[in-house]
Subunit: 219 residues, 2 copies
DNA sequence: ATAAAAATTTAGTTTTGTCTAAAATTTTAT
DNA sequence: ATAAAATTTTAGACAAAACTAAATTTTTAT
C-alpha cells in the first residue's frame, strides 16, 4: 500500500499530536496542517476507509495499528534525512526540517535501508529525537530540552548545552545545576521566556536562549 | 517560480525528446509520460501560459529559454542524486533511475548545492551522462555510437542511450558498463549485428538495437 | 437544565491533472 | 488534388484535495 503526500502528512501530524499526549481534535489538526477543519474531516473519512484511523464522526479519532506503523516509517525517514543533512551535508540543525519534510515522502524502502547503513544506524536525530528502526522500535529519549517541557511537570536537569563561563555564571546566579528539579509554571509567547519554579525557592524567569541550553530528564 | 511535479515531468520529457533530435509531437510526449495525447495538450497550454514553452496549436512546440533553464535544473538534480546513490549508497547503476525520478523533485536549491559540493562536483553521472552545473553548463563528451566504431579500434563505453530496466538488465548480463573497453571484431550485414571483444573475455554478439544505445570514447 | 459557545460535519464549489469521445487540422498517399 | 490516415485539439467528466458557508452535534457555562 502506498499513500499520497497529503495522506502521509495527515498521518504524521496525527501521530505527533498524539505523542504530545493531547486529546487530538479536528481543529488541532487543521491548525498544524495549515488547513481548514472541513478539509480535515474529508481526509479523516478517507484515512478511516483505508484502515489507518479509528474514527467515528463527532467522537474523535486515533491511529490504527497500521496507521501508527505508517507514521513511524515516515518519522524514521524524516529523522534519517535530517541526520544526513546535518552530519554529512553540514547543514545547521535549524535549517533541515523543511527539506526533510520533502525528502520523507520519497518512497523507496531500499533507499532508506541503504541510507541508514551509510549513516551507521544513528539512534537520534540532530534535534535529539529518536530515530525508529526498520521495525518502528526506537530508544526512549532520556533528555528533553527545557523548551519542550510540559507546563507544571517536574524534571531534573541532566545536561547543559555548553561549558562557557558566561553560561555557568548565569546558572550559578539562578541556582541551577545538574540534578536541580524544576518545573515550568508559565510560558510567555511574547519572548518565549519561561517562569520556572524550583522547590523551596521563589519562582523566577529564564530566557528562551537559556532554556535552549538546558536538558532534563522528566520525572 | 516553482512548478508541480507534473509540470516538471513534462518539461523534463520535452527536453529529453528534443535532445534526441526528433521532431517532438504530442503523441511522443504522451508515450514517454504514459498518458494520453489529450492530457498532453492540456499541459502544453499551461506551460505556454507560464512562458516555459513556445507553442501554437497544431504547429508544434519547443521549450523557451526559461523552459530549458528549468529542464536543465531538473536534469542536474536527477544526475547528482544518481551519482550519490551509486557512489555513496552503493546502489547498482541500474537501480537508481526510479529513485532519482522522485528525488529530482525535491525543491531546495541549497540542498543541491551542498550535495554537489559533498560529491566534489562530479561531471558525469553513473550512466555517463553529463551533469549540468549550477548555471546549466555541462561538458560535452565526444562520443560516438557503437554502430559508428571502426573495426578493431578500442573504445571505452561512456554513456547508454536509455535508462530502461530492460536495457540495463541486458547490459548487466553482457558485462558491459560505463568504462568497459571493447572493440568490434566483425560486422554482419545480414542483421547488422556486431561481434564484440572485451579484453580477457571470449567475444560475443550484440544486436543492432543494443549497439544503437551504446556510446563510446575512442581511445 | 438549557442556552450559548465551540467543535465538527455536510453540502456545494474550485483547482489540478487526468480521462473518453468527438471534432478539427495536418499529413500522406493515390 | 483530394480522400484517407494520422495527429492534435476541444468538450465534457471525474477524482483528489482543498475551500466557504451553513448545519449539526457536543461541550461549557450559567
Amino acid at each position: 500500500m502506498s499513500f499520497s503526500v497529503s495522506e502521509e502528512n495527515y498521518i504524521k501530524s496525527i501521530y505527533h499530536l498524539q505523542q504530545q499526549g493531547e486529546v487530538v481534535g479536528t481543529n488541532d489538526l487543521a491548525g498544524l496542517l495549515q488547513t481548514k477543519p472541513a478539509s480535515v474531516t474529508d481526509m479523516l473519512k478517507k484515512l478511516k476507509a483505508k484502515n489507518l484511523l479509528l474514527y467515528e464522526r463527532y467522537q474523535g479519532f486515533t491511529l490504527s495499528n497500521e496507521g501508527a506503523r505508517v507514521a513511524l516509517n515516515i518519522v524514521r525517514k524524516h529523522r534519517l534525512w535530517e541526520y544526513f543533512l546535518v552530519h554529512e551535508l553540514k547543514f545547521g540543525w535549524d535549517e533541515v526540517h523543511a527539506i526533510a519534510e520533502e525528502l520523507e515522502h520519497v518512497s523507496s524502502k531500499l533507499l532508506i535501508e541503504k541510507l541508514d547503513k551509510y549513516l551507521s544506524y544513528p539512534k537520534f536525530d540532530p534535534h535529539g529525537d529518536p530515530i525508529p528502526d526498520v521495525n518502528g522500535k526506537m530508544e526512549v529519549r532520556k533528555q528533553i530540552n527545557l523548551n519542550e517541557l510540559k507546563l507544571n511537570s517536574n524534571a531534573e536537569v541532566s545536561a547543559v548545552g555548553s561549558q562557557s563561563t558566561e553560561l555557568l555564571e548565569l546558572l550559578k546566579h539562578k541556582n541551577i545545576g545538574i540534578g536541580t528539579v524544576l518545573k515550568v509554571v508559565r510560558k510567555f509567547s511574547f519572548d518565549n521566556s519561561l517562569e520556572i519554579k524550583v522547590k523551596d525557592f521563589p519562582s523566577f524567569s529564564i530566557s528562551q536562549q537559556l532554556a535552549q541550553t538546558l536538558f532534563l530528564k522528566p520525572l
